[in-house]
């Protein structure tokens, strides 16, 4: 049922919508229960969350996708989603996301008295010696890895 209402000339007259017009929006035809009390309510804990397991500070955590086979010896495979935490203090031995001369690369960082090196995890590739003429920055530390087995 519709009811017509007339409004001042500034506005249009319009039809106040009755129940029958709701069929125009089939998406919302179903009733949604507003919730019911549950006896388990007081015992509810948050479900296990992989992101809170993998991530450090959420504000400092970013994900990147690994390509190539340069890190297979560290069990990091092509297609892995790497969890990079920028808040971590960088230590020798960390697997890091670095940027060398405008190229991103994931490698193991080695800091010794003789210098800084990025070590691949595959003997097909050579370690990268960080020399002064290279533009080098550690973007973040790889804190974890997520991999799907079944696509």
């Amino acid at each position: 049922m519709n009811t017509e209402i007339l409004l001042p000339s500034e506005t249009v007259s319009f039809v106040l919508l009755g129940r029958d017009t709701e069929t125009k929006f089939p998406l919302f035809a179903a009733r949604v229960p507003a919730g019911f009390p549950s006896p388990a309510e007081e015992h509810i804990e948050d479900r296990i969350s992989l992101s809170s397991y993998l991530n450090g500070h959420p504000d400092a955590t970013f994900y990147v996708r690994l390509e190539g086979d340069s890190m297979i010896d560290y069990n990091l495979l092509e297609g892995d989603l790497l969890v990079v935490d920028r808040s971590l203090h960088v230590r020798s031995g960390d697997i890091v996301l670095a940027n060398v001369n405008s190229e991103y690369t994931v490698k193991k960082l080695e800091i010794t008295e003789t210098g800084v090196r990025l070590l691949p995890g595959n003997n097909k590739y050579k370690p990268i010696e960080i020399t002064e003429d290279l533009e080098f920055l550690v973007w973040g530390v790889v804190r974890g890895v997520a991999r799907r087995i079944r696509q």
């Binding site: 506005t11 998406l27 400092a60 390509e67 920028r86 994931v106």
Partner: protein, 422 residues
């Protein structure tokens, strides 16, 4: 009220966001373009040095951009919004009270930190935000918001300050005010600046020392408050709970001219549903919906049309379904055939608390059903991603969506868009 306000401002925010993901752009001129790639809305310092202007149309800037290999991007508000949230949330760790002032600015309460060296603390804030999010910020701290803003400006410009300036001592305040032109004081527009110059008031120090009567007469009550703040008397506190908005507008220029009523309907439905969502976020409802449409005024040879229609709702509402229906009615009323429309928008006003809505005896809408429906809709869209569920009127792949040809990926919000690394 706190005894020390700090304004944290992201440096060239939109450009800095791009540099986080593209370190190779450090020291390279970068600009970010507005919706529809129409004009420049952010410039790196190198781009500023080339004379590129804020708001400059892209086509006009293009020769300079090409000559100097300026890197340009469309704005990706999803990415910008997420990076902004990261910055704000990092800042929140450093203060008990914070006002998010804009997408790239926040006021922090640094008062009452006993035994802590404030400049040192501010540098820690700056370094942490830089390390965690990659975004460089400048920090200005002072006894009032107006002075904090002024300190921030100097912090950003002065090499010596290196991004952090705390103004608490009288002699430092005096020096800072003296080196700031009145036109650069927060809240003094170019008209007032000209007026003040004509009175011989050129810098902020002179402005701080006018009489109250002078300030009130020439700058109104707002100006008097500003003058008091320059003297170090705080007149405005942190706004921790942002006030409920009095009007909400959602509008966009179209990526290509829109001629059919159907396409316009889709656009208007999307805008109305955005308004409804914003209303629900602030737990408000609106009483008035206005729709406007217009052609491109810059295409003078084409027939021009501009119209707007306002509809009073019988009962305040924040339901997407209702607002879309009313906005569509308004649009149907003003739509005329034969025009190439450039822009449409929905504006809602008479906003009040959702629970204080007046009833209407003719009301046939099942309000509790609508409310629970909207709750479910918002939850679904939150958990499954924006736009998962929407009203059919919004359409599926609209032709009117703004074009952003040089848009960067959503590095932080879409898993298929994350950086690829080797």
């Amino acid at each position: 009220m706190t005894s020390l306000f700090a304004l944290v401002d992201c440096n060239n925010f939109y450009c800095s966001v791009m540099r986080v993901f593209h370190p190779e752009l450090n020291n390279v001129p970068v600009v970010v373009l507005s919706n529809n790639d129409g004009s420049i809305i952010a410039r790196s310092n190198e781009a500023k040095a080339l004379g590129l202007q804020m708001g400059q149309p892209f086509f006009e800037a293009r020769p300079t951009i090409e000559k100097y290999n300026v890197v340009y991007f469309s704005s990706n508000y999803t990415l910008i919004g997420d990076m902004s949230a990261r910055v704000h949330s990092t800042l929140a760790r450093f203060t008990p009270n914070m006002e998010i002032y804009s997408i790239d600015e926040a006021f922090l309460d640094l008062g009452g930190f006993k035994g802590i060296d404030i400049p040192d603390y501010a540098r820690t804030i700056r370094n942490t935000v830089r390390k965690w999010t990659g975004i460089p910020v400048s920090i200005g701290a002072a006894p009032t918001k107006t002075l904090a803003k002024l300190a921030n400006r100097i912090a950003k410009k002065s090499e010596k300050a290196n991004g952090v300036l705390v103004l608490t001592e009288a002699k430092h305040l005096e020096a800072a005010l003296k080196r700031t032109d009145v036109g650069d004081v927060w809240g003094i527009g170019s008209r007032y600046a000209t007026k003040l110059h004509s009175f011989g008031i050129n810098n902020a120090w002179q402005l701080a020392n006018v009489t109250d009567a002078f300030a009130k007469k020439h700058l109104t009550v707002v100006g008097l408050r500003l003058v008091k703040e320059l003297r170090g008397e705080p007149c405005t506190d942190l706004e921790i709970e942002p006030p409920a908005k009095k009007g909400i507008c959602s509008s966009r220029s179209f990526g290509q001219p829109v001629t059919t009523l159907n396409d316009l309907k889709e656009a208007v439905a999307v805008y109305a549903s955005r308004c409804a969502y914003k209303l629900r976020q602030q737990k408000s409802a609106c009483r008035v919906v206005t729709v406007f449409i217009h052609t491109n005024p810059f295409r003078e040879r084409e027939p021009q049309y501009y119209n707007t229609k306002t509809i009073n709702l019988p009962v305040s509402s924040s339901s997407t379904i209702e607002l879309v229906q009313y906005a569509t009615m308004a649009l149907e009323h003003i739509y005329r055939d034969g025009f190439a429309y450039k822009k449409a928008g929905v504006y809602i006003t008479e906003i009040g608390p959702a629970d204080g809505a007046q009833m209407n005896i003719f009301d046939r809408v099942d309000r509790s059903k609508h409310a629970s429906l909207m709750l479910t809709l918002d939850q679904l869209n939150k958990s499954m991603g924006k736009g998962t569920v929407k009203v059919a009127a919004e359409g599926v792949s609209p032709i009117w969506e703004p074009k952003a040809e040089f848009s960067p990926p959503c590095y932080t919000t879409r898993i298929e868009d994350v950086l690829k690394v080797r």
